[in-house]
Symmetry: C2
Subunit: 233 residues, 2 copies
DNA sequence: ACAAAAGTGTTGAGCGTACACCCATGG
DNA sequence: CCATGGGTGTACGCTCAACACTTTTGT
């Protein structure tokens, strides 16, 4: 069909801020661009939405194709849309950005579309490193969203495995917020906030008393009262 | 099919949830659709984004064209994007939704594009009334966003004039949250939260002691500590 | 004088912070 | 037996909800 629309046409993409904790630091997943524009530059995983595809589905598909971690995503929420007329030299492209969280220890699969998918510390991506398009801004928004969502949702549990200790959860908060937290007070708050329940098992990690294992309570996402960001030390 | 682009083509629209308080009830601005699809049905103001236009600019322009209130908007933030493949019978349309707040007493201008722009109570729009497209869902998301943003931002001040009394502000919270609040406690909280400052004037509304007028402190948008939603009575 | 709304005082309950202390394990 | 991390006890200070009370006006 000849294009006779009375309305302007756009391309729509999805881009995903994928966060995880590695080596006690917040990392984001980035891929090296294989073609222009920005060939060779790091970018957030993402790509063009298919004609009959939902936006969320597109985010998961692109994540799987480019990094192989699509099925491991523990949480995926819409971050916002970015549509400056000049944000993409190929034309008028609106990108719907998503925030995804992975548990620690997930590696980008080899043999996927993108020759290189890598975890990079958020600090360096937001520091000197230059990302493609407006991805630096999208990443910054994603990190800020994660910081505030830790306060009043169960998002932290998406950064750890299905069974976790209170100390693992505490590291998540400490790393994402960049503060030290009182271990005792944190333990009380988190075990009485209603979003985690003991599995009954316990586990030994190095010296010290074995820690009880908890799991995330199905469907409990609101934290009441919220965990406050107040630092210790 | 002659479309030779290597990527699928979309239309992009903006839709705006415009909230204001009228007659002690939360209202939203809706326009009657003049053409198909959904001809004659109420819809959120909005329309197609121009080729060289930013998304926020498009929201303001459409609001001005369809309702004449574009310049009176006191707050405009992105709500999210809606892109189900079937959400619009005209084709693949992704809509970027915005949340706008107006002070009370703003009327939709006559002589604008839309024959009919009207304030309607949110309760009826989310109740029986049937809106065009997925606008009911967008409106619901907008109202929920407003409810939670009252807690920890200065959004409430956008619902009142540039100078306002503490009681006016309290009515905003009571109407949007649908609860009664203790006048004394509210007064203390709000005047010590740092986002309002006295103008020095005072004003008389009916019987009772005259109320001091306040204005919103420029740039103060975060509420610390947040106002809690706990009801009274 | 009375009603009504603005604004301040007061009090008791509950929560958060800080930190002491006990528990259970590895070396 | 010591070091290390898990987990509990406790006390002090602060905030908040509830509500009594004072202030300032209209009728």
């Amino acid at each position: 069909m000849v294009y006779t629309s009375e309305h302007p046409i756009f391309y729509v993409t999805v881009d995903v801020v994928v966060l995880a904790i590695r080596d006690d630091a917040l990392h984001a997943l980035v891929v090296e661009r294989g073609s222009n524009p920005f060939k060779g530059r790091w970018a957030l995983p993402g790509g063009f939405v298919e004609p009959e595809e939902g936006l969320r589905d597109a985010a998961v598909r692109e994540l799987e194709e480019e990094t192989g971690v699509g099925t491991r995503v523990r949480r995926l929420e819409q971050l916002g849309s970015y549509g400056d007329p000049d944000r993409d030299p190929r034309g008028r492209v609106v990108s719907v950005a998503w925030l995804a969280v992975l548990p620690h220890g997930v590696a980008p699969a080899s043999g996927s579309d993108a020759a290189d998918a890598e975890w990079k510390p958020v600090s360096s991506l937001l520091g000197g490193e230059r990302l493609a398009f407006d991805h630096r801004s999208i990443l910054a928004d994603g990190v800020e969203r994660a910081r505030s969502k830790l306060e009043y949702t169960a998002m932290a549990t998406a950064f750890v495995g299905p069974k976790f200790t209170v100390a693992e959860l505490r590291r998540v908060y400490e790393v994402v917020w960049g503060v030290g937290l009182d271990a005792g007070n944190f333990h009380r708050k988190v075990t009485s906030a209603g979003f985690v329940e003991p599995t009954g098992d316990s586990v030994q990690r190095g010296p010290g008393r074995p820690a009880a294992l908890y799991r995330h309570v199905e469907g409990a996402d609101e934290l009441n009262p919220p965990l406050t960001r107040s630092a210790l030390r």
